[in-house]
Symmetry: C2
Subunit: 731 residues, 2 copies
């Protein structure tokens, strides 16, 4: 139809251009679930409205005839009994302007008993719900954002240097001399990626994640590939860091080893609850361990450096190590890409930009700069200390632990450093709980993820995304029985895919946008892109058989699912998009948006006479439109008997009897209604069925439950409306 | 309320007195699901109808205004494409008298694709559906009824005598001399029970099962106890006989032993399918093996007697057996009750009486007489031969097998007898498939079991009962991993409970009804009752620890559940029973059965403007009653934006905006509607919600699915009708 084809881009209206995204402020708002109409739609709405004539002749306008004052401001529900016998008056609605009520938090609690119990439990666990007005207060201060968003990045420092040295050590002790040059290369990469993200945050102040940047500049598929890489990485981060943390605990207390999986689930549950409590609460909860780790490692580096200075910075020669393979370019690349795991987590700030206090981009950029500086200082410090002390990886002790032993041979410091390291490894998962839901929010806003990820939960966090992440990670934890070591090779592939695509996106951005110093900026991003791509290619190839193939399979799969989701939403939006009414009337009432075109026939299936059926008949007859009753009879005799009853009642409604000698009830009724619809597609058929409301669930087994069955059978038939009249029977 | 209290017995209208039950004919008819109104109700219906005034002033009567000819006789759906490209025209409805259509078997097939596929599969497996008119043809001839109903009884002969001799042998070889006297006692019991059932069938020609007889004469609880005993026994019969049959097969072919459970399930599936095909088909299928067993055992007895005659009927002395315990009255009682298992299955005819060809009771009685005669002849013959041959139970071979070996030392006869025995043991389950669903039918008719057991399936069998039996037996088989030997002690307790109660019921019946020879008849039933009670007590006590406690626990439990079911139905019937309208109007429209008393308010929840919402608004406005639109907004800004759109559209419907700062949607809406209902309980609130019809199931994850969630939230609120307007979006 002309009216539809014209608006093909309707479905994509959420894929906003950066300029459009800039207009919509704030980004993480509850209104994201209800996007505004575009100007075309507004115009169409006006024109549709002009052709609406709702008053049938002889009826008074609805506006005046409304039989009650709908402003319920004066309504007070009866006081709710409390335990200990006291009564409290529960306010549900407060009148605002005329025709507008503001609901209180009590109205957000379901009325059912289980609903109330769940709400109470949630309140105890997560705190009272927060009003949308508190959104600004829930934004992150820089000093809260730093620990929340950097725990993943900083924890990487605990294993990144060791991973690099371990690869080099394969070529013997001599190869370890390459440590410093490779580390220098990594620092260049870190600074390039960091600067690049700084630029991205400034250029896209309303969300600078790889998904957005790659989508805007490279297209939907690259954007989704970046998102898929990040999603996988976030999920793996939670599963691996939790199981590694639990492993550290069970190594110390072997008695707990059989409880590894329940303990892991407990940790995930704590992270889940902490993050569901909201950004601020989670920040307060998880800030201390991050700062403790920071202080511990800084102290380690400081003391180590002082000790080295007393030796005149003379390096201790490393012990001889067996040569497993020759020194080659591939080995160097592998060492480089292993060391690059130190910088996973650097992307955390980008999607979280809109969660900072205003001015958002400035605060986000400052935080990123701090994080980057900390990363470089810690990484360089550790690498230098490892080199100076001639440490090589050992099977029984991590390099960090060796370093701590050497630096603090006595005193409680060693134990403290180890405890801080274990905690930060556990808390790396917390960054994922911040990044993942925001990534899904942006995907959902673009129509690439289910819209439920747009929803701001009770505590103004993206609770659906948080729960989804916890659920997926818990599933992986259980599936691998807590032994997630197998998953470590999968790391870094996804995140470097995202880095590469986001930098490439920025290169395109600068070429298009130009502006001051664009060449310099483009160069920074280009260097970052090349180095990231190098790490991506190296780790994908070298770890392919070890597990990276999972990422290579999963990323296109996630992209595919996202595209299917997008296609569905796009079609749906296109089908439901407001468009000016066509010149020729459409076929069938279901396509009609003006009341004067809708004609009704009400159909009431009647099985036998009882009060329920009589009430449904009364309801139907009082509505206004003509009513047809249909009785399905298994036998001629029963049909005759029923017809006699119908006449005894007074034959007030036209009755049609269907004799169903095969004793089926629902299918003949559905076929009959379908036949009615085929004969008169212009009629709106409203089927009214009584629906018993039973107090006990098991009582459902005792009834035919015609209403839900009929609803299911009639789903596919167009043009049939189903009305359930509830019958509350006191039993 | 006076109108309700008066009709307290309304819920019990299905507990018909025998005289009432006699009037309703035939018993197993599809109309059993729709029982007729009683005279009080008919009168109330007439009086309610007189007060019905459906035409609002100014509207034309509904009868004439109906916008279509509802006789769809001329309607032909478009020809359905078939494979191989041919097209056939499917007739769905055939016009009968005016205002009446008869549906064809095509109309009994659901329209959905899965529904059609299931119907096709069922057709292939079970045959085409049978019309209610074929009910009489599906009745059993005596020669079909005999094998169907006697396989359980006859199979009992294969183990009953052995069980008796095995108990006696515990007291040494000398005790075996008691075999013949005890057997004589058992024959008296058999004849007493048999005669008693003959009398019952005559007295209650429309169903003579223990449940009915005990209910009529002793009350609901004894009736239910008898029913519970029988139900347990039927389920155990299927589980035990199938696993015993499979055990016989796996003993012969040990390779199949690991497949015991799947094989058992396969046998249950075959029995299920056979019985779902209908009584006649199952009879034809399962008659041959029963007759084969009959011939085989008769031949065994004949040849054995001839051989004994050549020896001048001199008994062979039994081999010495170790004396385990002394001969005592308890031992004799145990032998007696063990031998009594030979007569389990004798009750099969009683509930099946209405399934015989007319004259039902006469045919049923004749069949019972045949069965009884066969039982006595086979039992006596086998016992006498066992005695004459001096056989004692051996661990490695059954007595029947020993007897066959002795009688037919050579030739194929031994193998044939063994095969026939194995088959009849398997087929004993088939009698349960006949008895169990009919028992549940009678229980459901009395309101003591879910009403779905009243339903006559596609093939005019009680398919719900058949499926339930197969399912329960399969569960037990799987739970015990095919090792159901543990369940054998549970046998006989349930069935002798039923025997005892039914005979007691008959004693009461004769005392009440009197009639010709009532003293003699009472005596027969009294003897039967005493002997049955003896067996019941003996087996319950001696087998208590061995498993009979399960029955002792389960029977009261089943009785309790049945009483709860009955209470629910009784309350429901009382609540919905037609009663003359009260003088004072009732409170709230939901209790109203006259249209002139119902006033409407239509509420349309609106989330945003799109074509779907506009169509729902058009549907609502065109219905007639006043309309109120409600918008739930998460923020003030969004509320203002929406109100602007509403005015741009033309403000055709009164709008109420609820600002929900806690971002909940469903609970505030539900509370709002509840508040409306509380303020104006006289208004029928109809909430109209669009319901997206999605083509793919996984697409549901992509939508909020407000309609079902709202329906669930509003279930408990009285007076609120929910209308779902389907929206078929082509994606």
């Amino acid at each position: 139809m002309g009216g539809r084809g014209r608006d093909d881009r309707g479905g994509d209206r959420n894929d906003r251009s950066p300029a459009e995204a800039d207009r919509a402020s704030p980004v993480f708002s509850p209104s994201a679930e209800l996007p505004p109409l575009d100007p075309d739609e507004e115009e169409a709405l006006r024109r549709i409205g002009q052709r609406w004539r709702s008053e049938a002749p002889g009826r008074s306008p609805h506006l005046r005839k409304l039989p009650l004052d709908p402003a319920l401001g004066r309504y007070h529900p009866p006081p709710a009994p409390r335990r200990l016998g006291r009564l409290t008056r529960v306010e549900m609605f407060q009148p605002d302007e005329p025709g507008e009520l503001v609901t209180t938090s009590s109205a957000a609690v379901p009325a059912s008993r289980t609903g109330r119990a769940l709400a109470r439990a949630r309140r105890i666990l997560l705190g009272p719900p927060l009003s949308s007005a508190a959104l600004l207060q829930e934004r992150m201060r820089k000093l809260v954002a730093l620990p929340v968003l950097s725990s993943d990045l900083l924890s990487s420092v605990a294993y990144g240097p060791e991973a690099m040295v371990a690869v080099l050590a394969l070529a013997g002790a001599a190869a370890l001399n390459l440590t410093l040059p490779i580390a220098a290369g990594l620092v260049v990469l870190m600074i390039a990626v960091g600067l690049s993200y700084r630029q991205t945050i400034r250029a896209y102040p309303h969300g600078a994640g790889s998904y957005l940047v790659a989508s805007y500049n490279l297209g939907a598929r690259p954007g989704l590939a970046a998102a898929a890489g990040l999603m996988l990485d976030y999920i793996l981060t939670v599963a691996v860091s939790v199981s590694a943390g639990v492993h550290a605990v069970t190594s110390a207390l072997p008695g707990l080893a059989p409880l590894a999986v329940p303990l892991g689930l407990l940790v995930i549950a704590v992270l889940l609850a902490g993050n569901l409590r909201g950004v601020r609460a989670a920040g307060n909860l998880f800030a201390l361990p991050t700062y403790a780790f920071l202080v511990a490692v800084a102290l380690l580096i400081l003391v180590g450096m002082v000790r080295a200075a007393t030796r005149g910075f003379a390096p201790v020669p490393p012990p001889p190590v067996p040569v497993v393979e020759g020194l080659s370019l591939l080995l160097v690349l592998r060492a480089f890409s292993s060391g690059a795991t130190s910088m996973t987590g650097i992307e955390a700030v980008s999607n979280a930009t809109p969660s900072f206090r205003p001015v958002e981009w400035r605060n986000a950029r400052t935080t990123l700069t701090w994080m980057l500086s900390l990363l470089v200082v810690l990484f360089v410090g550790l690498i230098v200390l490892i080199h100076l002390n001639g440490l090589v990886p050992r099977a029984d002790e991590t390099i960090l632990s060796q370093l701590a032993h050497r630096t603090f041979p006595t005193g409680p410091w060693y134990a403290l450093i180890q405890a801080a390291t274990a905690t930060i490894l556990l808390l790396a998962a917390n960054t994922a709980f911040n990044g993942f839901p925001r990534l899904l929010f942006f995907m959902a806003r673009g129509g690439h993820a289910p819209r439920l990820f747009l929803h701001l939960g009770d505590r103004l966090g993206f609770s659906n995304g948080i729960v989804f992440l916890a659920g997926t990670a818990a599933l992986i934890l259980v599936a691998f029985r807590g032994e997630t070591a197998l998953l470590i090779p999968l790391y870094a592939v996804g995140v470097f895919l995202a880095f590469t695509l986001s930098q490439l996106g920025m290169v395109v951005h600068w070429r298009r946008a130009r502006g001051a110093h664009w060449r310099k900026r483009l160069a920074v991003n280009a260097v970052g892109a090349v180095l990231s791509a190098l790490v991506l290619a190296t780790s994908a190839v070298t770890k392919f058989a070890g597990g990276a193939w999972v990422v290579v399979v999963a990323v296109p799969l996630i992209v595919l699912v996202s595209l299917r989701i997008h296609r569905h939403y796009a079609r749906m939006d296109r089908a439901l998009r407001l468009a000016p009414p066509p010149a020729t009337p459409r076929f069938g009432w279901e396509a009609e948006e003006r009341p004067q075109e809708v004609r009704h026939l009400v159909v009431v299936p009647v099985d036998r006479f009882n009060l329920a059926v009589l009430r449904v008949l009364a309801y139907a007859a009082s509505l206004g439109p003509p009513v047809l009753a249909v009785h399905i009879s298994p036998e001629e005799e029963e049909a005759d008997r029923f017809r006699e009853q119908w006449e005894a009642w007074g034959d007030h409604v036209r009755l049609e009897v269907l004799v169903s000698p095969y004793r089926a009830v629902i299918p003949p009724l559905a076929h009959y209604l379908q036949a009615l619809h085929t004969l008169r597609p212009d009629l709106a058929l409203t089927v009214i069925v009584p629906e018993l409301v039973l107090r006990r669930r098991w009582h459902r087994l005792l009834h035919h439950r015609t209403a839900p069955r009929l609803r299911r059978a009639l789903r596919e038939v167009p043009g049939i409306v189903i009305t359930s009249v509830p019958l509350h029977v006191p039993c």
